[in-house]
Amino acid sequence: MDEARLESILSRYEGEPYDLIPILQDIQDNYGFLPKEEVKAVARRINVPITQVYSVATFYKMFSLIPKGKHQLKVCLGTTCHLKGGQRLVDSLSSRLGVEVGYTSKDGQFSLETVGCLGSCAQAPVMMVDDKYHARVTVDKVPKILKQYQT
């Protein structure tokens, strides 16, 4: 375990039990997942039972206990995107990359996820790659979008 890396996150907090979720969010953002040793260290440090840490880590959708891919594909399946064919977008990405929703492609490049609503419903269907929004994505636009990120 990289103690300095974890310490740089923990030092931003007072170390109270209510800091649990923000600390896990920082670890998730920084590491791309929640490594086991780090999770244990957090539990000890802020005095929260390890069971509570895992209950939080598995309840909320943003946390992952396994490493995620280099790029995060988030396809919106909010109501508007659902009506405008968001599921077909998921199917297309899934078959092109050979990856099921919630998993990462074998080459470690892409993780595929679906989300509730990205708040850009006026441009449905919408997907996000990392922090960038892609608007009005129809299936025929998928290859071009993926190409921007494929190395």
Binding site: P17, Y18, D19, L20, I21, P22, L24, Q25, V48, Q52, S55, V56, F59, Y60, K61, M62, F63, L77, G78, T79, T80, C81, H82, L83, G85, R88, D91, S92, S94, S95, V115, G116, C117, L118, G119, S120, C121, A122, Q123, A124, V126, D131, Y133, H134, A135, T138, V139, D140
Partner: protein, 617 residues
């Protein structure tokens, strides 16, 4: 920006800002709201920067990136003040022409102005466009004027003016009286009277209290709160200061869902600015009142929008709701009295303080006062954000503002209230929208998502969608919600897979009755609305699925059949490459055929085909 030591100091500074402000100076506002941002707002703004520099207009023309300008369907939007010329669908390539034609020569770029889909009439000024003309913005008023990252802009618009009144002219009780008299009701869903909530909290005996802003906005299809947090973050902060003063809280929290990174950034920046300027912190404007705000981020759980779950989440636990009473106003964050209000509720507060309760009660209907922001999306020409007085009819919103249904399709339903709401059929289009009227027809106001559906939407599929959504998001704590949703989901799957039975319908109604009355929180209690409203108004569609094994709107996959028309097919093989199961065969440049045994009816071929050769029935 100085640190304001007193209200007079603030007033004086505002006067200076006003004196410096030249109303005649041209200002370019590039919309970077939720609708325009994914279409390239940043690139357009950058292009303006370069084009203005090239023409030597730097310093002469002000360039701003604004919050949502409303008519998202035609983004990227650019508003040129003071003439209020509203350009739409602006791309990087259009920018030099706008600068040359409008800013240098004073003309209009005709192809970038609004054209009415029905009458073909063109309008160049914002005020003439029917979408804007029929609105009455209070909460959205500043969004297309200010730069959300500039406190000066906010102050120039009268920002933080309410603090003088509350701190130096009113007691906390008087503030509560005023808010109660205004008739303001919560904009987050249930419509509870805001003033009454504050009073309950103020009267609680505990010394330590909290205010919370609910920015979780989980309802899919809703982005009003996102637009306000991103476009006018100081209004939320100002509202919270008023509320904190009224109930006697020293600490506030804003809880924002993590899918909204820009809202988090803007709120954090605004809080820092407010602290530096002395609107947050100790002894605010020498009033003796201390208050500060912290931003907490959600972690992707819809149920955390429910107030007790949200509080559990801030405390560091999983988002499981708890039974009410006790209400948060009596026992909330860390067991202490807490007022929790929605983003839009908070954003209404400063203006109510400034203008008075009577001003507010003059707007709206008898029991629902003021305005409501709706996100108008789906099958409607002008998708975007609208703010109208309570009591505006659905028809006015969808047709007068929304420009009707695109492609000459027929209106089928409008869905309000997110997963807790219902689908309202055409016969209620003249319903004046307020909290009570929507409830009467089996839906709810909810947070303000309004999703218009045309004949291509299947109502069984829509209900199944919401049940699937809620099933995934239910926290699983109480049995009626957890098991009820599992069973409903199972039945919907049977129906859309062609295995529906007549007795499924009464069984669904029975399940709904149990869930509606016995679930712990609103998630399970109102999960029945999408089911019951579609069963009531669109029963024929259920019957077509169950009896005829057909989906009239051609949506439910297993009931469809895809074929390729050999006459139209050019043999380009686009569908063959896309088909995930290799069900399409044929020679290049010749007609293809779909193997019905292999076909999983995903519809990818249908969408890929550029020649409309794939047929769906």
């Amino acid at each position: 920006m100085p640190r304001f030591e007193s209200v007079d100091h603030l007033t004086q500074y505002r006067r200076q800002l006003k004196a410096k402000f030249d109303p005649e100076q041209p200002r370019v506002l590039v919309c970077a709201g939720p609708g325009c941002l994914p279409l390239g707002s940043e690139e357009v703004a950058q292009a303006f920067k370069e084009a203005l520099a090239e023409k030597g207009l730097n310093g002469k023309v002000v360039l701003k990136v604004s919050g949502c300008q409303g008519l998202c369907a035609r983004g990227v939007r650019v508003l040129l003040r003071p003439r209020e010329i509203s350009y739409q669908k602006v791309t990087v390539q259009d920018v030099p022409e706008i600068v040359e034609t409008t800013l240098v020569n004073g003309g209009i770029v005709d192809r970038l102005i609004y054209q009415d889909p029905a009458s073909q009439e063109k309008f160049s000024h914002k005020g003439e466009i029917p979408f804007y003309k029929n609105q009455q913005p209070i909460v959205l008023r500043k969004l297309d004027i200010i730069d959300p990252e500039s406190l000066d802009d906010y102050l120039l618009m009268g920002g933080y003016r309410s603090l003088r009144k509350i701190f130096f002219e009113m007691t906390p009780e008087q503030v509560i009286d005023l808010v109660e008299r205004s008739g303001l009701r919560g904009r987050g869903g249930a419509g509870f009277p805001t003033g009454r909530k504050w009073r309950i909290c103020r009267e609680a005996p505990e010394a330590v209290k909290f205010v919370i802003c609910n920015g979780d906005e989980g309802d899919p299809g809703a982005f009003m709160d996102r637009a306000v947090m991103e476009g006018d973050p100081h209004a939320v902060i100002e509202g919270m200061i008023v509320g904190a003063y009224a109930i006697g809280a020293r600490q506030g929290h804003i809880y924002v869902r993590h899918e909204y990174p820009l809202a988090v950034k803007r709120l954090k920046l605004a809080i820092e600015q407010a602290r530096d300027a002395g609107f947050l912190g100790n002894n605010i404007l020498r009033s003796g009142f201390n208050f500060d705000i912290k931003v907490s981020q959600g972690s992707g759980a819809f149920v955390c929008g429910e107030e007790t779950a949200l509080i559990a989440s801030i405390e560091g636990f999983i988002g499981e709701p708890s039974p009410r009473p006790p209400y948060p106003a009596q026992s909330g964050l860390f067991g202490l009295p807490t007022v929790i209000n929605n983003v839009e509720t908070w954003a209404n507060v400063p203006e109510i303080i400034n203008m008075g309760g009577d001003w507010y009660t003059a707007i709206g209907t008898e029991k629902s006062k003021g305005t409501k922001v709706f996100s108008l999306v789906g099958a409607v020409n002008h998708t975007g954000l609208v703010e109208v007085p309570m009591g505006t009819t659905l028809r006015q919103i969808i047709y007068d503002l929304g420009g009707g249904i695109p492609d000459n399709k027929a209106f089928k339903a409008v869905q309000t209230g997110g997963p807790s709401g219902g689908c309202i059929p055409a016969k209620f289009l003249d319903l004046p929208v307020d909290y009570d009227s929507l409830q009467e027809v089996g839906s709810i106001m909810g947070s303000g998502g309004m999703i218009v559906m045309d004949e291509t939407s299947c109502m069984v599929d829509v209900a199944r969608y919401f049940i699937g959504f809620l099933h995934a998001e239910s926290c699983g704590k109480c049995t009626p919600c957890r098991e009820g949703l599992t069973q409903l989901k199972y039945i919907y799957n049977e129906i859309i897979n062609g295995r529906g039975e007549e007795w499924h319908i009464p069984l669904m109604e029975e399940l709904c009755a149990a869930m509606g009355s016995a679930s712990i929180c609103g998630l399970g209690q109102s999960a029945v609305n999408p089911v019951l409203s579609t069963l009531k108004y669109f029963r024929d569609e259920y019957e077509a699925h169950i009896r005829d094994k057909k989906c009239p709107a051609l949506v439910c996959r297993p009931l469809l059949k895809y074929t390729i028309d050999p006459e139209t097919c050019t043999g380009c093989l686009a569908c063959v490459r896309e088909c995930p199961v290799g069900a399409i065969t044929g020679l290049k440049k010749e007609a293809q055929e779909i193997d019905q045994e292999l076909c999983i009816k995903c519809g990818l071929c249908y969408e890929m085909c550029q020649f409309d050769a794939v047929k769906r029935e």
